[in-house]
Every structure is written in structure tokens, then in C-alpha cells.
Symmetry: C2
Subunit: 112 residues, 2 copies
Amino acid sequence: MRGQSLKGHLDLLLLSVVAGGPKHGYAVMEALRSASGEAFDLPEGTIYPALNRLEREGLLGSDWSVVQGRRRRTYHLTGRGREALAEQRSGWEEFVAAVNRVVGGVPWPATS
Amino acid sequence: MRGQSLKGHLDLLLLSVVAGGPKHGYAVMEALRSASGEAFDLPEGTIYPALNRLEREGLLGSDWSVVQGRRRRTYHLTGRGREALAEQRSGWEEFVAAVNRVVGGVPWPATS
DNA sequence: CACATAGTGTAGTATCGCTAGGTATGAGAG
DNA sequence: CTCTCATACCTAGCGATACTACACTATGTG
């Protein structure tokens, strides 16, 4: 997965993770990693700018807090964020369907 | 689909289309468009450089011909191209699985 | 003759995740 | 007390890659 194959799909992932409950950046990183089964081990330089952008776009909101002396910026999904998530979900479904149609329609030689 | 969400997945699409039989660039464009159900209507500036790159990488081979006064460059899959296609297919499967795990695991409200 | 369709190509742009660096706190090891 | 590691945040610039916008040739049609 090492590649940058998630171009254009990062927002969907981040919104999905935050939809599972408010989280701060570092926690988003870890949640994404574990939820994907270690597939998406994204660096901070990817996560933080993306979260910032999503907040600027009004899809996320954030609150600062201090826990054990460490600053935390906790993000939560806004109403528009929830809408955007739904859109991106269906967009993702369409995308997968379209690629699968091209790739062969038939799933795959069934590993099982 | 308008977006550039296929970043990193274009090679898979092109190799898949060419795997369905040798085609020249213009035909690849059309095959991709129709096979995807109009979802992937990619411009020439995307197709041609990509096909060239795939040939440089040894995944495609090409032969020139002239049909009705028009030059045609017909691409075909090489052995290495076939291997690469298999790899990219399984990479795609993994990618989809990983995203779906994050997005919710459960497919989606089942449109049907 | 103009225009659409077929057919190929490229130079430059824009997008976007990533690299590599910086700041700071707390906990544990030596 | 210092060193290192984990936690926690951030950003400037890079690099990969698809797209825009053009240029060129040829055939057929109005």
C-alpha cells in the first residue's frame, strides 16, 4: 500500500475516522492505522495539513485542550461534514464500481 | 467522478483495457469510457503520456501502422505488463478492502 | 471552405500527499 | 541530570501525476 494510491480519498478516510467520535490529530493517525489493518500508516505531514484543510472547509470543527501538559486539538464532525461524508461515501462506491467494471467486472479468481 | 480520484490507479485501468486486446491510444480512450459506463472520460493529455510511460517501463509494446492515411500506434501487453497487471489488481483489491474497513466495514445501506 | 471526427503528441499547470525539518511536554533509562 | 522515546502539534518545499491547452495530420461532410 506504500504508494500514494489514496490521492483524492484521504478526506473520506479522515471524515470516516472522526465520524467514529471526536479525536485529536495524533489519535486520528492511530485510529486510521489500526482501522485499516496497518495499511494506512500515514505520516504527520499528511494528517495535520489535511485536518486543517477540512476545518477551513467547514467539514470539521476543533477545540483546544490541555491533557497532561500537552496541547490537544480535538476535531469533531460538523453538519456539513456529515453531508460531505455521505457524498464521499457514495462517490467512493461509484469509483470502485467503475474501476471494477473496467478491471474485469468479475471480482477475482476467488482466493478461497 | 469528475475528480482526479484515480491518481495512482490509472495504470491499472490502462493495462486492463489493453489486456482485453491490442488497441491504439484513441481506442483505449473510448474503451475505457464505455467499459466504465462513461465514468472515466479521460482527456488525451492523460492517456497518451501514460501509455508512453507504460511502454518505457516495458509493460506495453507498440507497433505503428497506417489506416486510411492515419497513423496508428497500437499497444499490446508484454509479459512484464501481464505480471504488473496481476500485481496492480491485487494491490487494488487490498486498497479497496482497507478503505472499506475504515469507512465502516459494512458495505452501505444496500441500494438494492 | 469550415467543421467534425479520428489520431497522435507535448509543454506547462495544478493538485496533493509526503519528506524533512522544527517546537514542546512527560516518562523512563542510565 | 541527561538522553531517548512517545506524545502532540505544525509547515515549507518537493515530487509524482493527472489535466489544460495547445499544435499537427488526415478523412469525410455540409
